[in-house]
């Protein structure tokens, strides 16, 4: 029983990071009605960024966090102008394929450069001990940082001008354009922001688990599940969904081998979507 509770608490901590990752996805979806299939690659980008910044440049691991945000943002903007800008009006299929194509390129390059060997960034921090279970410092800090960044995102979206512009464009792009908002720049900013969130969540995940070039896919699936669980295009929903997923994972992994987790998550994803179509409708824009 205690073991289960420990798993659950552990799950909540990790779940906060999942929520952060999902925020990047839902932001882009909410603003421009595009499903960003480079999401997984962005997460991997964050993971490797941490590795190189920490080992090559000797940065303290958490110092890499702001750097990754910037890198993620820049890459996101580049991806927007390369693959997304031209296909925005052309229906879901095209943006799916174009972002997927970029994902293939990035992962392909990654595999060619780094092969599929696992990488690890050890983070030594004092943990919190409870009975015979320890919650490593890394987990606590990761969760705390995830919440902090989520809070910053909220602040950005609701208290700054650019945030207001983003929300206006998300609501009605034409009206925003008519009101003098440069919607294309706003869209590219929002995309960059979504990528940055994905990348920084990758960095945080890298402080917790070993990873390789192909890890992105699993976390991308988790982001989708979270998005569907949260059923809203807003940060709070994504965070709650992330924690919910973390809890479910925590409960599940005490009963079955970890390799089944993707199957469980996929089943959950499909089940939620089928049983709660409103979850999809809350997502679908007419």
């Amino acid at each position: 029983m205690i073991g289960l509770i420990a798993s659950l608490i552990h799950g909540v901590l990790v779940g906060a990071v999942y929520g952060l990752a999902a925020m990047g996805l839902t932001l882009i979806w909410g603003v421009m009605n595009v499903i960003n299939l480079t999401h997984g690659a962005m997460i991997v980008l964050g993971m490797f960024a941490l590795y190189f910044l920490a080992s090559a440049l000797g940065l303290p691991p958490y110092g890499a966090v702001p750097v990754t945000i910037v890198i993620g943002f820049v890459v996101g903007v580049v991806v927007y102008w390369t693959a997304v800008h031209r296909v925005i009006g052309r229906g879901h299929l095209m943006s799916l394929l174009s972002t997927f194509a970029i994902n293939m390129v990035l992962i392909g390059l990654g595999t060619a450069l780094f092969s599929t060997s696992p990488y690890n960034v050890p983070v030594a921090l004092p943990g919190i001990t409870w009975r015979e279970y320890t919650f490593t410092g890394a987990h606590v800090v990761a969760a705390a940082l995830a919440l902090l960044i989520a809070g910053l995102l909220y602040f950005l979206l609701h208290r700054t001008r650019i945030g207001k512009a983003i929300r206006a464009v998300a609501d009605n792009r034409e009206a925003a354009e008519l009101n003098g908002i440069p919607t294309t720049q706003v869209l590219s900013f929002a995309f960059g922001l979504g990528a940055a969130l994905a990348a920084v969540s990758g960095t945080l995940i890298a402080t917790l688990f070993p990873f390789n070039v192909l890890s992105g896919g699993a976390y991308e699936l988790k982001s989708f599940v979270v998005t569907v669980l949260g059923a809203m295009g807003n940060p709070a929903g994504a965070l709650m969904g992330g924690v919910a997923l973390g809890l479910i994972e925590g409960a599940a992994t005490s009963f079955m081998p970890v390799s089944w987790t993707p199957v469980i998550e996929f089943a959950l994803f499909v089940a939620v979507l089928i049983l709660f179509p409103r979850g999809v409708f809350a997502f679908t824009r007419s």
């Binding site: 499903i35 299939l37 390369t82 693959a83 031209r86 296909v87 052309r90 229906g91 879901h92 299929l93 095209m94 799916l96 394929l97 174009s98 997927f100 194509a101 970029i102 994902n103 293939m104 390129v105 992962i107 392909g108 390059l109 595999t111 060619a112 699936l221 989708f224 569907v228 390799s259 089944w260 993707p262 199957v263 996929f266 089943a267 994803f269 499909v270 979507l273 089928i274 179509p277 999809v280 679908t284």
Partner: protein
């Protein structure tokens, strides 16, 4: 969602075509004979020259053409099946299992595999086809991964190591080397069937309904198209021939294991092939598959490029989506509008 938006040239050219053209019965249309010709060419060219290398190359091309033209059926109603390879792999497993463990004759096993997989697809499809757009696409990847995980743990099918076929399964077909020829002819037959099926659907009322769904699913429903049923049938139809050809392919290879049978890269490549050739056209799927397979063959032999297979496919896909969404056929139709009458 406008899938057909990428072939504006096709629509423009359709305007020049007399409406009565569509009423000629299937067997009298020139395109059907073109398909037969292609099938014969595939069968006879390597046979006459007894050229095993050519046979192998064409065999792979035929498999891809089958996958691509079946994929086209679903793509026509606007749903991208990223995980389409699952039909191929599952069909392969069922067929190989029936042949090696149950000692079924090949043709029956392959057919049974096809029927079983398309029935499963019908059932599964009814569930996941309620998802729109990217959710559906991702769900198909999930289906592939889930089936792969399941099969890896399924002992009767060899678990993670898979099934090895012993040489005596080839005896009923005249021994190993003769069997390879016979299986090849079967593969060519299936390829031809997939082109027929794709064309028949496209020219039918069913195909019109799918097209309407692809243009605007809600409008199609209001017009009376039974959208859930149509999508499920299309999904099921798109599973049949890949499953059969998967059975034949893995029988020929002599071995099947989870990683190879459910390889997502191959799945994605099928999509690239359809896009390359021209979405929504039968010729396009075939042409794209053939060209891509040749390209791939060349690249894989060059040491440097073999690492970059995914990258190249990705760049190609991106280029097509951004600059030539109509693919090769889109280009051809724009340049030579009269081809629209002959090809589909």
């Amino acid at each position: 969602m406008t899938v057909q938006e990428l072939s504006p040239s096709v629509a423009e050219v359709a305007a020049q075509q007399p409406a009565e053209h569509r009423r000629a019965p299937l067997w009298r249309r020139p395109f059907m004979w073109l398909i037969v010709l292609v099938g014969l060419a595939f069968a006879l060219l390597p046979a006459w020259s007894d050229n095993v290398q050519l046979r192998e190359s064409l065999s792979l091309a035929a498999v891809y053409i089958t996958l691509a033209s079946s994929l086209n059926i679903m793509l026509g109603c606007g749903y991208v099946n990223f995980g389409n390879i699952v039909f191929f792999g599952l069909g392969g497993y069922i067929c190989v299992y029936l042949v090696s463990e149950r000692l079924w004759p090949l043709a029956a096993a392959a057919l049974a595999a096809g029927v079983a997989v398309s029935l499963l697809a019908l059932i599964f499809g009814m569930g996941i086809l309620r998802l729109r757009g990217a959710f559906f696409a991702l769900a198909t990847i999930g289906v592939n991964e889930a089936v792969k995980a399941f099969v890896s743990n399924f002992e009767p099918w060899g678990g993670a190591t898979g099934i090895y076929l012993s040489l005596d399964v080839y005896d009923p077909l005249g021994g190993p080397s003769q069997a390879l020829w016979n299986v090849y002819f079967l593969i060519v037959a299936v390829m031809t069937a997939s082109l027929f099926l794709s064309y028949a659907i496209k020219s039918s009322k069913f195909g019109l309904g799918l097209l309407a769904i692809g243009e605007n699913e809600d409008a199609a429903a209001v017009l009376g198209v039974h959208t859930p049923r149509y999508k499920a049938l299309a999904y099921s139809a798109s599973a049949l021939l890949p499953a059969i050809v998967g059975g034949l392919f893995f029988f020929k290879s002599g071995i099947i294991e989870p990683a190879g049978a459910f390889d997502l890269t191959g799945s994605i490549e099928a999509i690239v092939m359809v896009m390359l050739g021209g979405l929504g056209t039968v010729t396009g799927a075939a042409l794209g598959a053939f060209l891509y397979e040749e390209l791939r063959g060349v690249l894989l032999t060059t040491e440097a490029f073999s690492h970059f297979q995914l990258v190249i496919a990705g760049v190609l896909l991106l280029a097509i989506v951004l600059f030539a969404p109509g693919g090769l056929m889109g280009f051809i139709y724009r340049r030579w509008p009269r081809m629209r009458r002959l090809l589909e």
